[in-house]
Amino acid sequence: MGPFLETLLGGLMTGMLYSLIALGFVLIFKASGVFNFAQGAMVLFAALAMARFSEWISRGIGVPAGGWAANLLAFAVAMAIMVAVAWLIEKLVLGKLVNQEGITLLMATLGIAYFLDGFGQTLFGSDIYKIDVGLPKDPLFLFENTFQGGVLVNKEELYAAAIAAALVALLALFFQKTTTGRALRAVADDHQAAQSIGIPLNRIWVIVWSVAGFVALVAGIIWGSKLGVQFSLSLVALKALPVVILGGLTSVPGAIIGGLIIGVGEKLSEIYIGPMLGGGIEIWFAYVMALFFLLVRPQGLFGEKIIDRV
C-alpha cells in the first residue's frame, strides 16, 4: 500500500505541474481560438529571463543571489518582458492573421515557438541555469504510524502543487469576478458578439497572452527550480498536450483534472506496466491514454459538445 500511495501522490503532484502548463494552452484557446504551440517556448523564455535577471540584479545592486529582493525584482522584470512578448505577438502576428484557419494559426504559433527558442537562447545564453526561490528540497514522511516506513513525499513538489492550486484559484477569481475577466469570457464565447457590444478584441488578446505569459512564468519557475533552466524545459510542454485534449480544449477545470489523470496514469503505468514493456513508456503512455479517452468522448472530458450542421 505504501509504495502505491507514494506513486499516486507523486503522480498527482506532477499532474498539477502539467495542469499549470495546460492552463496556458486553454486560456489562449478559449479567448482567441489559437492552439498555442509556443506555450512551451514561453515557459522556457520566461524561466530564462527569470534566472538570468535574478543573477544580474543580485550582482548589479549587491543583494545576495537567491534572496527575496533579487527574486522579486527578477520576477517583475520577467513579467514585464512576458507582457511585451504578448503585445508583440498580438501586434505582429495574430493581428495580421485574423480570420485565418485554425491550422494556419497553429503553424504561426510554431513559428513563434522557434523564434522564442532562438531569441531566448541568444539573449540569455544556452547553458543550464538555476532558479532558487527557496523551495525546500528535503523529503517529508507522511502516515508514518499507519504504514511501515510511511509515505515519502517531496516537499518541493508539495509546495509546487500548492502554488499551482493557488494560481488556479486566483485565475478563477479573476475570470469570474473582475470586469476584464468577464470581457475575456465574453470573447471566448463569441468573438463577433463581444466585439459588437464594444469589447476591444485586440486589447483582450494582449491581456490573454499576458496572462498565459504569467502562467508560463510561474510554471517556468517551478519546473526550473526542479530541473534547472535549460532547453529541455520547452519540451515539457509537449507533455501538457495530452492533458489539454483529455480535459477538453476549452475547459479550465478540464486542464486541472486532465493534468491529474495524466500525472497519475503516467506514474502508475511506469511502475506497474513499464517493466513488462522495457521501460520509458512515460513518453507515449499519456498520449495513448488521451487517445482512448477521446474515442469515447471526442470533445474531451469537459470540452464543449461538438455539433455538426450542414
Binding site: 495580421k96 504561426a108 513559428g111 515557438a113 532562438g118 509537449l238 495530452p242 488521451a290 470533445q299 474531451g300
Partner: protein, 358 residues
Amino acid sequence: MLYRENGQFKTGYAEDQQIFPIRQDRIVILVLVAVAFLAVPLLANEYLLRAILIPFLILSLAALGLNVLVGYCGQISLGTGAFMAVGAYAAYNLQVRIDGTPLLVSLLFGGFCATVAGVVFGIPSLRIKGLYLAVATLAAQFFFDWAFLRIKWFTNYAASGSVAVADLSAFGLPVVTPVQKYLFCLSIVALCALLVKNLVRGHVGREWMAIRDMDVAAAVIGIRPVYAKLSAFAVSSFIVGIAGAMWGFVYLGSWEPSAFSIDRSFQLLFMVIIGGLGSIMGSFFGAAFIVVLPIVLDRLLPALGAGVGLHVDTATVSHVVLMIYGSLIVFFLIVEPHGLARLWSMGKEKLRLWPFPH
C-alpha cells in the same frame, strides 16, 4: 502571348482528360523533366547533389504524402516523422533478415508497413476532428520514437542503436555515387507524383476533397467517411513510408530514431503549408524552401558577422537560424496564407494576359 490556351481544340475524351490540357504546360513539364534527368546530373557538382538535391527530392516526396492527408483530405497529422520511421525500419529489417532482397522490394515493404501503421493510427480520425486529431496523432510519433529506441529487435540488436545499410543497387545498377542516388530518387519521386496526381483527379481524390470541405455534407451525398479518411491515411502513409525508407537508405546511410523525431513532423507540415495545401506543385516548392533556407542561413550569417567585424560562433548561429526560420514562417503565413503554390497560379494567370492586361 506565349501562354494561352485559345486555339487548342479537344476532339476526343483522351485529350480532354489528360493531365495537362494546355499545350504550353506540357512543354514546360517535359523540359523540366528533361532538365532534371539529363542536364542536372551532368552539370551539378557532388555537394549540390548530396547536400541539397537528394534531401530536397526525398522530403518533397514525404511532403507530397502528407499533402494527400492534410491538403486533400483535411486531416491534420503531426505524426509524419513516425510513419517515415516505420518505413525506414521496416525496409531495413527486410533487408537484414532476408539476404539479397532487392532495394525496390524493401522500399515497397517499408511503404506497406507504414500504410498499416497509418491506417491503425488513422482510425481515431473517424471520431476526432481538427486540433484534437492533430494532438492525437502525436501518440503515433511518441509511440514509434519509443519503440525504435527501446525494442531492440527492430534495430537488429545493434549496440549503438543506430542501423546502417550499404551497397545499394536497383535492377542490377549500383546506387552508390551521388549521381546514381539522385537519379534513383528522382525516378521514384516522379512516379509517385504521377500516381498522386492521377489519384486526386479521380473519384478517390474527389471523395477526399468532399470530406475535407465538409464531412457531414459529404456523408449525406453518399460518400463513406470511413473509406475516404482511411484511404487518405493509407495512401499518405504509403508514400511517407517510402520517403522514410529512402531517407534512411539513400540519404543518411546509417541512422538513429532521432532522424525521424517530432521536429521532422513539424518540418514536413511547414513544407506543406508554406508550399500550399492541396497542391502537388506546392509540396515541391515547400520542400525546396525549407531545405535550402537553413543551408543559406548557415553560410550567410558567419559571413555577415565577419562583414561587420563580429565573430559569430556556431551556437549563436544555430540560435539565430532558429529565430530567422521562425520569423520567416510567420512572415510567409501572413503574406501568403495559401502558400507558394498560390503565387505560382497567380503568375500563370498574369502570364495568360501578358502583354495586354485587358
